[in-house]
């Protein structure tokens, strides 16, 4: 794809005013995504990753959220279009799947009814014709006996099958952008593997762009082309997946990598956790949000607790947000982090 990327997010901010202060859930996020590619957004609780996905879908409208910035989907700014236009796009041009498929599907309607609704919202089509498409889609996502299961209720499906049904519902109108918010966190590992495989297959078949939100670096390595690491509402590192894992450039990313026990490593060294706790989004630490937990503050070129570092390009197509000089970081990584990985 030449020219503008399919999705371009610029300086997205989502702030929630509350009685205790302003929650800066997302505080200036910029990234882009091409069709057919997958962006993995990684973060822990309080990083703002879920709020980002909801903001792109426009699901904060009507709430107290103050949203600013630009979200250009195929040239159209999703933050500025009318509610009607946005509803026309949701479920058709961009779709979302959620973490818990049991609570995300209506308990009183059958899977078939819910998928049919997804079609009928955007297309004038009879229930009978829609049903055929629905059954086809259920088969496509690997649900056995779709002709029978189409009339069953969500609680009659197992966790993995339910998530497949939700994926079917999201993809039934061939959306060009799919946002998956921790779609496999609640699933067993063998089921997770099946779902990730399914998503990869569907992506190559339909050519959709995928944003995969997760806290699991293993999942990111499996499925993402680019990786965006979020902390305290901001992006702290943004690079292609190989660079993220082989040349990570931010102390938080290092912390995530060294604190993970690994299945593929023979030696089992002591884990190096990230000290402290994730920040509260109301009281984000001043300066660099990560500084209270950073083990390498002494190497910074200016005061980490006062000045917010900018997101700068440390290598081609590799941005990070840190006061430690790039060369120093490369050195630290080679000496202290890489041997542990």
């Amino acid at each position: 794809m030449s020219g503008d990327p399919f999705l371009r997010v610029t300086d997205l901010k989502v702030h929630f005013p509350t009685d205790d202060g302003v929650v800066r859930a997302v505080d200036g996020l910029t990234f882009s995504l091409e069709k057919g590619k997958t962006l993995g957004i990684v973060g822990e609780s309080g990083s703002g990753k879920s709020v980002t996905s909801l903001a792109i879908m426009g699901l904060h409208r009507g709430s107290h959220a103050r949203i600013s910035g630009e979200v250009l989907l195929d040239g159209q700014n999703l933050l500025k279009i009318s509610n009607e236009e946005l509803r026309g796009l949701r479920g058709r041009k961009l779709a979302m799947i959620f973490q818990d498929p049991l609570s995300a599907m209506h308990p009183y309607y059958t899977i078939g009814q819910q998928l049919t609704e997804a079609i009928q919202v955007h297309e004038r089509i009879s229930k009978k014709a829609a049903r055929t498409t629905v059954i086809e889609m259920l088969a496509r996502v690997g649900i056995p006996n779709p002709g029978k299961r189409v009339d069953q209720y969500p609680h009659e499906f197992s966790g993995g099958m339910r998530q497949r049904a939700m994926i079917a519902m999201a993809l039934i109108n061939n959306p060009e952008l799919l946002i998956a918010d921790e779609p496999t966190t609640a699933l067993d590992v063998t089921v997770q593997a099946q779902i990730l495989d399914l998503m990869r297959d569907l992506q190559s078949e339909f050519g959709s762009a995928i944003i995969m939100i997760t806290h699991d670096l293993g999942v990111v390595a499996e499925i993402a082309d680019d990786v965006l690491v979020m902390y305290g509402g901001k992006c702290v590192e943004y690079a292609e997946v190989d660079d993220t894992f082989h040349q990570p450039d931010h102390p938080y990313t290092w912390g995530l990598l060294t604190s993970m026990p690994r299945l593929d490593r023979l030696k089992q060294e002591r884990l190096v956790p990230v000290a402290g706790n994730p920040p509260s989004l109301i009281n984000i630490p001043p300066g660099c949000a990560f500084h209270p937990r950073c083990a390498f503050r002494e190497f910074a070129s200016c005061a980490c607790d006062e000045v917010v570092p900018d997101l700068t390009e440390s290598y081609p197509k590799h941005d990070s947000r840190c006061h430690i000089p790039v060369a120093k970081r490369a050195e630290l990584f080679a000496e202290q982090i890489a041997p542990r990985l």
């Binding site: 699901l59 949701r90 058709r92 979302m96 959620f98 818990d100 995300a104 308990p107 609680h155 519902m169």
Partner: protein, 337 residues
């Protein structure tokens, strides 16, 4: 599901028998002579004895209860004493099944009295029900959708007022002003539906509003709470993410789920109301089942009291059963077996 309904029917029947047996025991096995209530000041021992025999109070309580139960299925004759029936054949009254008994104070079978009173209570209950559901649920939805803003606050405030004002007060105010002083509606007096539907409605409008005032208030709060809870569920977010139109999200997804507990509460309230709205009937002088119940207690008309207890409790118990069964149909997750 079939077995569940069967089990419930069995327990409903058992419960009704238990309730009536207990009531029977309370009144007829008490140390106070039940015949004492059947005549007033000018009571001689002869009359007392005659009444006792006629009503069957001279028989053991168990036998009396047995006769009552069999009367429900095959009907009964009064006086309850073979001798007396032969002595005064012209005074024999046949009470067809289901025979609820004979009222010594009104000198009629209770069946007749109930047949007259029941349509009145039914009319009051149904009309009030429709009115309060529309106002209560409608108000609750508006309040939930505008949570925190002035429509919400004013509806909830009005509901609080409605809830706090006792029914007799509202009823008397409505009787005094719109009916008597201002003449907006005729002073209510019951007109049967099949006689003149329009007059029927005109006369019932004040009792309907009186009852609806109170119930609507609690349904506003109920609906508001359930709607707010439902609208914060994940599946609402999914519906929005699919691009479903806002009104459909609110009604087809939100209200549909929120209505379940509301409808079941309404079922129970309606069931209870069918047994008579005592205060409303008194204020508007409409002689429904509520009035009958009060009257029977005032005059210690024991057979009628027992019959009223049975009727009201039957309504409650059956309403309860229907509501529980309906859950199995409304919510596909509920497994009743």
């Amino acid at each position: 599901m079939f077995y569940y309904i069967l089990r419930r029917l069995v327990s409903v029947v058992a419960m009704i028998f238990l309730i009536t047996a207990t009531t029977f025991a309370i009144f007829y096995a008490s140390p106070i002579d039940p015949a004492r209530y059947t005549c007033g000041k000018n009571c001689t021992p002869t009359i007392l004895e005659g009444n006792r025999k006629a009503l069957g109070y001279d028989q053991p309580v168990i036998v009396q209860y047995g006769k009552f139960v069999s009367g429900l299925f095959v009907g009964r004759d009064f006086p309850d004493n073979e001798e007396l029936r032969q002595q005064y054949p012209q005074q024999v009254v046949h009470c067809p099944a289901p025979c609820l008994g004979y009222s010594p104070t009104q000198h009629r079978t209770i069946n007749e009295m109930v047949a007259e009173a029941w349509p009145i209570s039914l009319s009051i209950a149904i009309g009030a029900f429709i009115l309060w559901m529309l106002l209560g649920v409608g108000g609750g939805i508006i309040a939930a959708l505008n949570k925190g803003r002035w429509p919400d606050r004013s509806i909830v405030g009005a509901a609080l007022v409605g809830f706090s004002l006792p029914t007799f007060f509202v009823g008397l105010v409505l009787l005094t002003f719109p009916a008597i002083k201002w003449g907006w509606v005729p002073i209510p007096s019951y007109v049967p539906f099949f006689e003149n539907p329009i007059k029927w409605a005109q006369n019932l409008i004040l009792p309907w509003i009186t009852l609806a005032f109170f119930f609507a208030a609690s349904y506003v709060r109920l609906t508001r709470a359930y709607m707010i809870e439902t609208l914060s569920e994940d599946y609402i977010r999914t519906a929005n993410a699919k691009g479903v139109a806002r009104s459909k999200v609110i009604f087809r997804h939100g209200l549909r789920a929120a209505l379940t507990p509301i409808v079941t509460a309404a079922g129970l309230d309606l069931g209870g109301l069918l047994g008579g709205a005592i205060i409303t009937e008194s204020v508007f002088s409409m002689h429904g089942l509520g009035y009958l119940a009060v009257h029977s207690v005032t005059y210690m008309d024991l057979p009628t009291i027992v019959a009223m207890v049975m009727i009201v409790s039957t309504f409650y118990v059956v309403a309860n059963m229907l509501v529980d069964i309906s859950y199995g149909f409304i919510d596909p997750r509920v497994k009743v077996s």
